[in-house]
């Protein structure tokens, strides 16, 4: 692979570049990607392209095929069908070469709990054959980045979940990868730890690192992803920017109405006309509409008295639940 200067890769449309400049390099390109485990089809003929510098998200409930897709991109899991190019190379033939330019943050941490924080970074750098001195410099930067500098010489075992997660991310960055793959980076973390991680990831994105993220947190996807796909049962249920998805699969606003127990079924039929779509949940009625205030005024005019009301903007969560259903998937 020839080394193209960063500026050209990340800003193809920058003034001064040749007219009709080459499209952004595809970091990952998949066509008809399939993953089977025996009879079970985990990933069912999906196509996607992830561009240089992009932050791409795979959303979906548990078992939707996100992790299987990620493992194929990481060249750890062989394809059952279709074609896949990562960093312009074939995972089956060039797995180790691809992985040497990739940072991988797996769902389950694989830190050495008995070694110190710093040693975990040092040993990982050795896998990439970086000189000790270079690893040490890089490790110091990364510990700073992960806000773990003061824990550098502590053992990993007693660290909090958020710290371990940040260390795993720091470790994945030791080789200065072009592509960072994060499988559910913040699952199981408290809100403070999540926000700190988002801030760190956002910084990486600003620096031009291509991020591929799986998550089932919609706020995370909205924060981090330029573009995302919603996966369900191994297929893509939808694809686009967060805004596009909201526009395509939801309305601008949502009115949430809460009535006295038992009232929902009685009131609901009369409200159908007020919204593009209505959803009756055990505890609330949701009205999907572009003008929430108008709909709410109409509800009042009809004489219904709700216990509580809320007009809010549509979120990815609405899209997600509409596409993948509300029933629990396990």
């Amino acid at each position: 692979m020839t080394d193209v200067p960063d500026s050209e890769l990340t800003r193809p449309d920058a003034p001064g570049s040749a007219p009709g400049a080459a499209p952004r390099t595809a970091m990952v390109e998949a066509h008809g990607l399939v993953k089977r485990f025996g009879d079970f089809v985990a990933v069912d003929h999906v196509d996607f392209t992830i561009a240089q510098g992009e932050s791409f998200g795979f959303l979906g409930p548990n078992g939707a095929g996100k992790t299987s897709t990620m493992r194929m991109i990481s060249c750890i899991s062989p394809l059952s069908g279709g074609t896949l190019r990562v960093l312009g190379m074939d995972p089956a033939a060039d797995g180790p070469r691809i992985r040497s330019r990739m940072g991988l943050v797996p769902q389950e941490d694989s830190l050495d709990l008995e070694l110190t924080v710093l040693d975990n970074l040092m040993i990982y750098g050795r896998y990439f054959d970086m000189p000790k001195k270079v690893i040490r410099e890089r490790a110091e930067q990364l510990l700073d980045f992960a806000q773990l500098s003061d824990r550098a010489n502590d053992r990993v075992d007693p660290l909090s979940g958020g710290m371990k997660r940040r260390l795993t991310i720091a470790r994945a960055l030791i080789s200065d990868p072009d592509l960072l793959i994060l499988d559910e980076p913040t699952t199981g973390l408290d809100p403070q730890a999540r926000h700190l991680l988002w801030d760190r990831l956002y910084r990486l994105k600003q620096e031009g690192v291509t991020l591929v993220i799986t998550t089932h947190y919609m706020d995370e996807a909205e924060q981090l992803c330029d573009r995302l796909v919603v996966m369900d049962k191994g297929r893509f249920a939808a694809e686009g920017t967060p805004r596009q998805l909201i526009e395509a699969f939801s309305t601008k606003e949502v009115v949430e109405l809460r009535f006295a127990p038992g009232q929902h079924e009685v009131v609901a039929p009369s409200l159908v006309e007020l919204a593009e779509r209505q959803e009756v949940l055990p505890d609330r009625i949701l009205l999907y509409t572009d003008d929430g205030d108008a709909a709410l005024a109409e509800v009042a005019r009809m004489g219904h008295v709700a216990e509580s009301t809320l007009v809010r903007r549509s979120t990815l969560e609405d899209v997600f639940l509409r596409l993948t259903g509300r029933s629990l998937v396990d």
């Binding site: 990439f128 890089r138 700073d144 620096e207």
Partner: protein, 288 residues
């Protein structure tokens, strides 16, 4: 492109240095291909060993000292008085190379059971290694290479202790170093292949109870297998430890015969078969 100095105390966001300092890329790329992938995996285990090397070295020294003093010298003097040594040498001289091979078997097995389980389950080391540029085979080969390094350290100390006890009879003994390491790896290779198929460590105690400990006792370590009933002699003869013991003993005592090549070949074959099996079981566990 300038090097980025990222050394600062608490990272105040906003003034943080960029992480995409590419200055180190050149250095890393220039060195690429210089260190074999499997050796990088072995470097991990060396790192781990740094934590415990002191106690490990002390143990490696104490075990032969205690065994040779108690069984070799004390018990041996009784044996020598009644039967004028074993196979023409004093009991301690007979015992020492046997114990050397037996110790290598134990270490070779030990290092290929619980640490392998940790690599897959408890610490997920192998998965971490696989996230970098290493392949499944590098991961396996690296671990075996490290076990060989560790065995070499133990065997060197053992041979030094044996020399101090005056039971090294021949310059051939220098070849007992690779021979003893080979004996250990002849266990590590197949045992790590087996460990990769296991989901719980309880099978390891079964392995010790029914294979390793009986082998340690009945494969010619403490007495010549000619003392056994004929059918047990046959069983002892097929055990890998018998061949390791015979090879080490012949080298240390300077009684080298052509059969020793056969012993070495048998052990090499075990390493080859074990490694081939390990490639399959490791791949099955790591690549899904």
């Amino acid at each position: 492109m300038t090097a980025v100095s990222g050394v600062s105390g608490a990272g105040a966001s906003g003034t943080e240095a960029p992480l995409r300092g590419r200055a180190d890329r050149g250095a890393a790329t220039a060195r690429r291909c210089s260190t074999p992938m499997w050796w990088r995996a072995a470097a991990y285990w060396a790192y781990q060993y740094k934590r415990t090397w002191r106690s490990s070295v002390v143990t490696s020294f104490l075990i032969p000292v205690l065994y040779l003093a108690a069984m070799g010298v004390a018990l041996g003097s009784l044996i020598d008085k009644h039967s004028h040594g074993v196979d023409g040498v004093t009991y301690v001289a007979f015992l020492a190379p046997g114990l050397l091979a037996g110790t290598c078997m134990q270490i070779g097995t030990n290092d290929a059971t619980y640490p392998v389980m940790a690599g897959f389950k408890w610490m997920r080391t192998y998965f971490a290694q696989l996230a970098g540029p290493l392949s499944v085979y590098d991961v396996l080969l690296g671990h075996l290479a490290w076990i060989a390094v560790r065995l070499s350290i133990v065997v060197t100390i053992y041979l030094a202790v044996m020399a101090a006890f005056g039971v090294v009879y021949s310059p051939w003994a220098i070849l007992a170093l690779p021979a003893a390491v080979l004996t250990g790896i002849a266990f590590s290779a197949p045992v790590s292949a087996f460990a990769a198929t296991q989901d719980k460590d309880s099978s390891f105690s079964t392995l010790y109870r029914f294979a390793i400990i009986p082998m340690f006792l009945f494969s010619g370590t403490f007495f010549p297998i000619s003392q056994l009933p004929t059918w047990l002699q046959v069983v002892a003869y097929v055990t890998p430890l018998y061949h390791g013991v015979a090879l080490c003993r012949d080298l240390v005592l300077g009684q080298v015969v052509w059969a020793d090549l056969g012993h070495a070949a048998y052990l090499c074959a075990l390493v080859a078969v074990g490694y081939a099996a390990g490639r399959r079981t490791f791949a099955r566990r790591l690549v899904v």
